[in-house]
Amino acid sequence: MSILEVSGLKKTYITRLGGNAVEALKNIDFSVEEGEFVAIMGESGSGKTTLLNILAALDKPTAGSVLLDGKDLSVIPESEAAVFRRENLGFVFQEFNLLDTFTLEDNIFLPLVLAGKSHREMEERLAPLAKTLGITELLKKYPYEVSGGQKQRAAVARALITSPRIVLADEPTGALDSKASDELLRLFTRIHSAGQTVLMVTHSAKAACCAGRVLFIRDGVVFHQIYRGDSSAEQLYRKISDTLVILSQGGDDL
């Protein structure tokens, strides 16, 4: 069953000067199955971020619908959007978005605190998660005291601790060095194999290799998609690179 269904999604911005309409998303259709790991690739300005904002209920589409578990996101009123996000979605951002006033532990607890969970329950949920992510020793530290990779792992923990229906990751490796990136991607693979649905927006072909399916967006439409199928990581990598080359050359014959 599809956990996420996007159909006919359209987003038009009116620029502040001159009132020109800019079409960020023209017509996006795709769906994500339960337990799937999907990567979305595209160049800057292709509409990736707009798409993610709409999926996260941070923005409303101009037309079209996004169904999460059959529920239409665009009908959720703004006041309930935050609660909806908290209960159904987990986020991992490029810039980690950890609060510098909190320890890593408190950062991870934030969604649970907002949900009004008891402290005992929080600790029970965190312990196994922290072990999986290898941050048990770091929990009492502040974001400025740990490395980027460690920060991102804490951010992943924050995204997972609410057991969300789907994890949205926005360029999760964008601010990491290659070693930390590799580690994080291994982590995503492990999370995915444990049954977590993940949707990742990325620039990096290497990151996209971890996914079971890669969607390519150009000029506001889904331009192409690649299924991993039985191909090895190397084969997938080559396919992705080829597609990217075609994308950048502006060709539209795939």
């Binding site: 006041s79 935050a82 996000r85 986020f91 006033t101 605190v113 924050r158």
Partner: protein
Amino acid sequence: MKTAYYPHLACDGIRKNKRMFIPCMITTVCMISIYYILCFLSSVRVSRLIPRGAATAGAIFSLGSIVVLLFSLIFLFYTNSFITRSRAREFGLYNVLGMSKRNLVRIITLENLITFLISLALGLTVGISLSKLAELVLVNMLSGNIDLGIHVDGRALMRTVLSYSVIFALIMLVCVIRVYRKSASELLKSENVGEKPPRANPLFGLAGIIILAAAYRIAVSITNPVSTLLWFFAAVLMVIVATYLIMISGSVLLCRLLQKNKRYYYKAKHFVSVSSMVYRMKRNGAGLASICIIGTMVLVMLSSSACLWIGSDRSIRARCPGEINLDVHFSDPAQLSEENISVFRSAIKDFAAGRGTEPKNEGGLLYIGLTGLQQDSGLICGYDDTSAGVSFDDLRNILLISREEYAAISGEYPELEDDETLLLVDRCRFEGDKFTLLMGDVSHDYRIKETRTEAVLRDSSAQLIPTVTAVLSDPAAAIEDFDALTDGSVDRFSMEWKYYFDTGLSDEENSAFARDLETALGSLGFGGDAGSGYHYFFLDSRAEESADFYASNGSLFFIGVLLSLVFLLAAVLIIYYKQLSEGYEDSKRFAIMQNVGMTGAEIRSSINSQLLTVFFLPLFFAGLHLTFAFPMIRRILTFFALYDLRLFIITTVVSFAAFAVFYMAVYKLTSNAYYRIVKGASKQRI
């Protein structure tokens, strides 16, 4: 083209940062105008309009203007450093883009020059237009002559321009040094430093609490008005230090303790507020403490100066019970005779008749005055000055009067043996049966026949020290031995006749009356024998006294209000800048929280609880400081002949209420600015 480039950049810089520049300019305008007004009021022309006490008023205003100037200096430094700090990034960028430090300095100088010139022009305009109003209010308060012409005082103008130009030059210098000392990358980075979690030193917090407790103890326990003043300054210093320690360290400590309490901490309501409060307090503790100190200062100044001003009339009545007051001092007990006094009485009567009036509402007392101690045993004695370590609370004015005097006051002629006394106590309690007069080796004991609570002199409630009056069958005999002991010098005790009456004449006539009567009495003829005549006398009219009194108390109040205004403005600006800088800092945080799933309502309530706590902490502490300072200030006010407790309570409460309302208004205004910033930023998406 090139010459217009820098002014253009400077104007642009001001316009882009108007959120910071405009409040600063408004404050500068106010300070300059207030400084000009104070200089103007202390000028010769205004002092001519004040009936009497012009010198006192002038001195108070010059002093006040110096305070304003000093405060302006400190304050403008603060705002300027705030502005340059928060613009460091902008300067850093210019620097990276190829502008040399010299060019930067040129822009900064131009910016400052423009804002300064605008502020100066506006400040002088406002000052000059309001100076007339200030003059009218002041002259009216001191009941002087109203003059309706508008004047510009050239010297005051020059002084204002010069003083503030110097301040401006100093600020410029510091600004330039600051820019030169930093490298471009430092400038670029300077906004992002200091994200370490604050580690409060528990010792500092604890020390703050202990010092504050000690200061409060001093304030409450010191009863001796003479040492009050000294202790007051000690307590003020301690309170200032303690406030800073508590706000900076104590509050961080408190937040840390709250964080330790998991049940409390991990609640949506407290989670965000407590953790960001830790940071906020560390960075803003000093600012909050300053606001608190300024607030307390304003409150003390307003309440006490208002109390002095409103209570002037009563204080004057206490000092001058009658419109004309005579105080004759004698040097020999034998001079304390009814004959001597009647010489004065008839001379005054004759003099008054010459002015077409007669003494009305007369009152007076012939007495021997000593200073004594009331002790636990119920003993009162004229004490030696060798007795060190005397408690001020035990001091008493002791008046010895004859039965005839008492009969003149009360209409009752008490039956007394030679060793008996009738004791009249005022504003103190006395339980004992023995009254002792003691000086050196000589002592006289009297059995107390009866003790009554009664004041023998009108308005004696205004005395600093309570009075005990002993009615004796022969007061002169009682001190004969002392007289011999002290070689006839009157240091240890005084022999006085106080006499006061009303004339029903106008104030001017009364002043003249007193002056002329003084001359007339000075040439009185007394008999040639030993018990005749007097030592010296004072004569004054209430009209003259009250003019002096009003001049000093009125100008004190006036300046109290003006200085309060200056300090309040400063506090407002500190608050405003605090809100601005915090708004920018917090906006990023709240955007993250919104992404993680915090609802708009939750963000708002969290902001509210933080703002309220941070904002009302200084107000709370100011109230607390004021409460504990109250007994001490009351004692100090007694130096200014003010003893009206109720009035002081009222002025204090009213000042605090007014301050709180004002504070609330500022809170509303500035928190709006804060909300706008936070909201604007949380609109940004991922």
